[in-house]
């Protein structure tokens, strides 16, 4: 947008790269986030430097030709050796007299003319120096670069101002009118001014939603420039209509068309894409008599990949070696904050409030304490890479992120005297006070989780692995089920944390107890010759197909047992009760082996008091998965007393033909047990992905527990068991369809997702649920298309669409439901096999919404349920329904989700490919057709309150889903949840 002509370039002699190899290269970054050739006077100067040493910390100094320091940043290079984009100079040093109207930060250029004048007379350069931890800017020079400058500027310029045309960056809501000023426009032009919610980058086609009318409605301003005039200053937002938030301005020149839904066009003038243009703050709170309170804010997260709001996704769990970025939401900072000029970003070992009071010293654990200049008159910093390569010593170590603002300007030396120059340091190196100052510094989750760094659970854990097995022939007569098989072998292989690796080595430590995992394979040939009985030499060791998991689990501190179901496998009907019974029988053995009072002739007491039998996980593959459901149900119904605290189902069946003790038939329902179901779209055996039905039924009302489901595109049935795909054991893949993943990738899904589930529920490491909530992703899962469903037990169902009689106009809370205009399809339907278009595989009912024009779906929240502040997310399940392009155009679909409070405050979040979740076209299975498989979309409620939206989570009155153009979606389980 900013056209570069007539460059004024004053060259400095470039310093050779000090790092060896290719010289570092510099790039100027424009307001739209793109690389530009020239810095125009008045623009924010943002640079990116490539070719630096990964993870090394650098000081970036913006200097003029007199050596005066104009701007700065301290940052670590990322793993690719890149620093930036880093803002070094906000709007070319223009601050006006009083950028926030409260006397904070107005020590730069008075106006843009002054900045142009300065830049026309002075050259700029950027120095890159190795960071000296004690003295900013004094490290060894690595390289420098002359900044191409254009002054006076040639592009139009837009800025915010008060009624006196004074430059402003922020306002207090409701005090005074907000003006937009411009220069360099076509003489006598007609100028349309759109004041729009802030976003990080803009693309042609993005909606222009002016927000300056009554109650946030669009009300663009049209300004007629006088003949010959190229400048304007016009009020665009009356005080009475203002609301807090962050905003950009878009100007369209000489537009004769009109549109009720304007979109960003090529040729539009944009002020502040990459940075926030204007911050409107709420009125400051009354000062507490007890003094300043902590500024607890959400800081850590990652950039979202697209341009939809929000551009930053907040999260507090990260995988080791994955970048931690931070972003400060101005909503979190009260308007009476002193808005200092410098912020330092510390990541420090987590402390609670009391510990912080006693020990406020900040000790950073990252590559460097990042330093940034704060945009004058605001607390805006942009998105900053705070920890390039987190690699703490422990797994699950917790940290606090602190934005250390200077709270006492007098403690530091004055600025260099150059207008626009912040005071980054002193000769003594006391750049910052290095203390946490309540009320001034921002800190994440003072007594909460803060920031947690976890290891990839697929990486071998800290324990050496011992191995053993046992084999009791004909030892068990199954007492339950339709078949009650007699003389069943009790045989298993075992991996456990050991003092040394090898067979039958001692258990690790002396008195540690380890959680127990029991896994059972599914139906498969048991003999190489295809028969039903055979000698040990010809048996297919189905239970050894999970050795890769057993070893991993043992290395992470689990005693892992894989059961051989030889006698109840391969040659008869279902036997789910019997499968569950066999798993429970193994657990009975282990209960004895843990008990010193029971003589142990098998292991000679090796496991006495070493099992944590209060944390037992049951896992099963295929029919073994349904066997797990049976085991959990038997244990509960018969009050057997085992503590099966978590279940994992791997491509399970869901026959529901078994007959439990007391008669049947039965439909297995996993109750009170956190359950994870993993299954593949390319399953060529359980072709209907029956596990989806087990998942849907699990955790019914009153018996809730968390449940998770991973639907993995391209995964087959067999590859989770290495024996089942081994040609030496007559194995092979059953997979069908396109987009197949490799057996290695499929087994990695087990390593990552199942192990993290055990860690969460058997070891109390709730942070590992970040994998299941689609918050973090293992590098092993690159290229593996996984679609998640996750439902927390702590939730309120706004609409589960299960009420009878069916009433699409009322949700589960009794609130009114509407859709306008009347959609092409608007019905509640079963999502079970055969329902609607036959594409569903679920055991639930939901809503089908099809539209051919912009449509909104509203679900009202009755008064008794409007306080959702105890929850952290709004969630729903959604799937595309493929109707050969009648309504569904194909490709990923996009909806906006909005919540609104009793005062009418509202905020929308986009759900699409590039933020939060994809809603893909269902997988096309060659034998069953397209599968409309629901997946969860979980949107942090924080996203609805950020940028000072004023949305009050204690008074939420409605959820609104907005759909554009045309589409056909299935919805279920609209919840407020955790």
């Amino acid at each position: 947008m900013h056209v570069s002509t007539g460059l004024l370039v004053v060259a400095f002699a470039a310093t050779a790269a000090a790092q060896g190899g290719a010289a570092p290269s510099f790039h100027l970054i424009g307001g739209a986030g793109d690389r530009i050739a020239t810095h125009e006077a008045g623009d924010t100067l943002t640079v990116e430097v490539e070719g630096l040493a990964p993870k090394a910390a650098y000081d970036l100094l913006l200097l003029d030709d007199t050596g005066a320091r104009l701007g700065f940043a301290r940052a670590a290079a990322n793993l690719d050796g890149v620093v930036g984009p880093e803002v070094l100079w906000w709007e070319s040093g223009v601050t006006g007299l009083d950028p926030d109207g409260r006397g904070n930060g107005g020590d730069g250029f008075l106006d843009f003319a002054a900045a142009e004048q300065f830049l026309a007379a002075h050259a700029l350069k950027v120095e890159v120096r190795l960071a000296d931890p004690l003295a900013f800017g004094s490290g060894r020079l690595v390289t420098d670069w002359a900044v191409p400058v254009l002054a006076p500027r040639q592009s139009p310029l837009l800025w915010f101002s008060d009624g006196g045309s004074n430059y402003r960056t922020s306002f207090e809501a409701g005090l005074e009118a907000i003006f937009v000023s411009g220069q360099g426009l076509p003489a006598g032009a007609i100028v349309d001014v759109y004041l729009v919610p802030d976003r990080a980058d803009w693309n042609v086609g993005d909606p222009l939603q002016d927000t300056t009318g009554f109650n946030g409605q669009p009300f663009k301003e049209r300004v007629y420039l006088a003949p010959g005039s190229t400048t304007f200053s016009a009020p665009v937002w009356p005080a009475v209509f203002q609301r807090p938030g962050s905003f950009d301005v878009v100007v369209r020149v000489n537009d004769t068309s009109s549109s009720s839904q304007p979109q960003f066009r090529a040729g539009d003038l944009l002020a502040h894409g990459f940075e926030s243009g204007l911050v409107i703050e709420p009125p400051p709170p009354a000062v507490s008599a007890a003094g300043l309170s902590d500024l607890e804010v959400s800081l850590s997260g990652r950039r979202t990949t697209g341009n939809r709001f929000p551009n930053f996704r907040r999260q507090n769990v990260f995988i080791r070696h994955n970048l931690v970025a931070i972003n400060l939401d101005p909503s979190d900072i009260p308007a009476n904050h002193p808005k200092p000029k410098i912020a330092a970003i510390y990541v420090v070992p987590a402390r609670n409030k009391a510990q912080w009071s006693a020990h406020p010293r900040l000790t950073d654990v990252t590559e460097a304490v990042e330093l940034r200049g704060v945009k004058p008159g605001t607390v805006a910093l942009g998105i900053i890479n705070a920890w390039i390569d987190p690699d703490p010593s422990g797994d699950g170590d917790r940290f606090d992120v602190v934005l250390d603002f200077r709270d006492d300007l007098n403690a530091n030396p004055p600025s260099s005297g150059v207008p626009g120059s912040p005071p980054p340091g002193s000769s003594s190196g006391a750049i910052l006070n290095g203390l946490y100052d309540p009320g001034v510094d921002a800190i994440d989750e003072l007594d909460g989780d803060g920031l947690t760094i976890i290891s990839d659970p697929a990486v071998t854990g800290p324990y050496l692995v011992g191995r053993t097995d046992y084999d009791f022939i004909d030892a068990y007569d199954i007492p339950w089920g339709q078949y009650q098989d007699q003389n069943v072998d009790v045989r298993a292989v075992v991996a456990y944390p050991a003092q040394s690796a090898g067979s039958n080595t001692p258990v690790f430590g002396t008195n540690e107890r380890f959680p127990v995992i029991v896994i059972l394979h599914g139906n498969h040939s048991v003999c190489l010759n295809g028969g039903c009985t055979c000698g040990a030499g010809n048996r297919i060791p189905n239970h050894k197909g999970y050795d890769y998991l057993l070893d991993l689990w043992a290395s992470h501190g689990f005693i892992a047992i894989s059961v051989d179901g030889y006698d109840i496998t391969g040659c008869g009907t279902d036997r789910f009760i019997e499968r569950g019974a066999l798993m429970l029988e193994h657990l009975r053995y282990w209960t004895d082996w843990d008990n010193p009072a029971v003589p142990d002739t098998t292991f000679a007491g090796r496991f006495f008091n070493r099992l944590d039998l209060s944390h037992v996980g049951f896992a099963g593959h295929s029919r073994g998965g349904e066997g797990v459901a049976a085991a959990v149900q038997l244990n509960q119904d018969l009050a057997l007393g085992y503590h099966i605290t978590s279940a994992v189902l791997i491509a399970p069946t869901d026959y529901n033909w078994s007959t439990p003790p007391g008669g049947g038939p039965v439909v297995f329902v996993l109750e009170d047990t956190p359950t994870f179901n993993i299954m593949g779209s390319s399953d060529g055996d359980v072709i209907d992905n029956d596990g989806a039905q087990l998942f849907d039924r699990a955790s019914p009302a009153g018996r809730k527990a968390d449940k998770s489901q991973a639907f993995i595109y391209g995964a087959d049935h067999n590859s989770w068991n290495t024996i089942w795909i081994d040609p030496a054991w007559n194995g092979g893949s059953d997979g069908v369809g396109s987009g197949r993943i490799t057996a290695q990738q499929q087994q990695d899904t087990g390593r990552v997702f199942i192990t993290s589930w055990w860690m969460a529920w058997l070891q109390g490491r709730s942070e590992m649920l970040a994998f299941h909530r689609d918050v973090v992703q293992s590098s092993l899962m690159a290229g593996v298309d996984t679609h998640w469903s996750y439902e927390s037990k702590d939730s309120v169902d706004v609409d589960d669409f299960e009420q009878t009689p069916v009433n699409k106009l009322q949700n589960s809370l009794g609130g009114a439901v509407s859709a306008t205009p009347t959609p092409a399809t608007f019905q509640e339907s079963g999502f079970r096999p055969g329902n609607y278009d036959g594409s569903f595989r679920h055991d639930t009912s939901g809503l089908i919404l099809g539209w051919s024009a912009a449509t909104t779906y509203e679900s009202a929240i009755p008064a008794a349920w409007q306080d959702v502040s105890a929850y952290s997310h709004v969630a729903f399940r959604v799937a595309q329904i493929w109707d050969s392009k009648v309504l569904n155009p194909g490709g990923s679909q996009f909806v906006k989700v909005q919540i609104e409070d009793a005062a009418g405050h509202q905020q929308s979040v986009s759900v699409d490919t590039r933020a939060f979740a994809t809603i893909p076209v269902g997988y096309s299975h060659p034998w069953t057709g397209r599968k409309s498989m629901l997946k969860s979309v979980r949107i942090p409620l924080r996203s609805f309150t950020q940028d000072n939206s004023l949305v009050d989570l204690t008074q939420i009155t409605k959820i609104v889903v907005s759909c554009e153009s045309t589409g056909l979606l299935a919805f279920d389980d609209v919840q407020f949840t955790k």
């Binding site: 339709q482 040609p727 034998w927």
Partner: protein
């Protein structure tokens, strides 16, 4: 090239091939689940050891004896989904696998003799996997029942299979047969050459030995078969298609009309 060189070249080619194989791993073998290879079926009475349990309204029944429909063939896959035998529109799920001749057998256990009616379709399918749906060419024929020794049958109180077999159908309208039913009534109808039925006798009475002989009068000129029907409601009207009988009417047996001298 002499023989020695030829061998060396062959060895070199093998080495190259082996090296190529290492560089490009062979794809995993794929398991094909398609139509089943079924060679036939057998129908047996069987003693169950251990007994087979069923529950009705929570009440357990132990079955010491049952009928087994033995589906024979080869390479019945062992997979997560069970094979299901559909007798008509009723699924039979309980089965065992066994070796049979050079192939496999699936032995489906039937405890309700009413299922084993003549002329019913037999279809095997794994779960809902339509790839495997395989319909037997033969229909169920209770006459093929292999019975246990009479003494054992008597001791066990094994029921006779319900059904009727037409033993003779003469062109003069004389029809004989035998059978047993526990409910409803037996009727006779003529099947015409266009597949439609024309009622002949509304109800047949079996004698004490389960046999009957009736003279139905002149058969319609276009009649090709006589059909025995089990009727639990209204007798179907003339002109009903055999393939479109109402649910309360079931075909028990069908026999072509013998119009020429025997043995022709």
């Amino acid at each position: 090239m002499n023989l020695k060189n030829l061998r060396l070249a062959a060895a070199a080619a093998l080495l190259v091939a082996a090296a190529s194989a290492q560089e490009t791993p062979a794809p995993l073998p794929s398991i094909e689940y398609g139509r089943l290879t079924i060679t036939g079926y057998e129908l047996r009475e069987a003693r169950l050891n251990p007994p087979f349990r069923t529950w009705t309204d929570g009440k357990e029944t132990l079955h010491q004896y049952a009928f087994k429909v033995v589906i024979t063939g080869s390479r019945f896959p062992i997979r997560a989904l069970d094979p299901i035998l559909w007798i008509g529109d009723t699924p039979v799920r309980n089965y065992e696998r066994a070796a049979y001749a050079d192939g496999d057998a699936l032995l489906f256990c039937v405890t309700d003799p009413a299922l084993l009616r003549a002329e019913r379709d037999l279809t095997v399918i794994y779960g809902t996997d339509e790839r495997t749906r395989t319909r037997l060419i033969e229909r169920l024929d209770p006459e093929r029942l292999v019975k246990l020794p009479a003494a054992e049958r008597l001791a066990a109180g094994l029921p006779e299979l319900e059904g009727v077999t037409l033993t003779a159908v003469g062109a003069d309208g004389r029809v004989t047969g035998q059978g047993r039913i526990d409910g409803g009534r037996i009727a006779l109808a003529a099947r015409l050459d266009d597949g439609k039925l024309q009622p002949l006798v509304k109800e047949i009475t079996l004698d004490a030995t389960g046999k009957f002989a009736v003279a139905v009068g002149p058969l319609p000129a276009r009649a090709t078969h006589v059909v025995a029907l089990l009727v639990r409601g209204e007798m179907p009207a003339a002109g009903v298609e055999l393939a479109a009988l109402p649910k309360e009417v079931e075909v028990l047996d069908s026999k072509p009309i013998r119009r020429g001298p025997a043995g022709r």
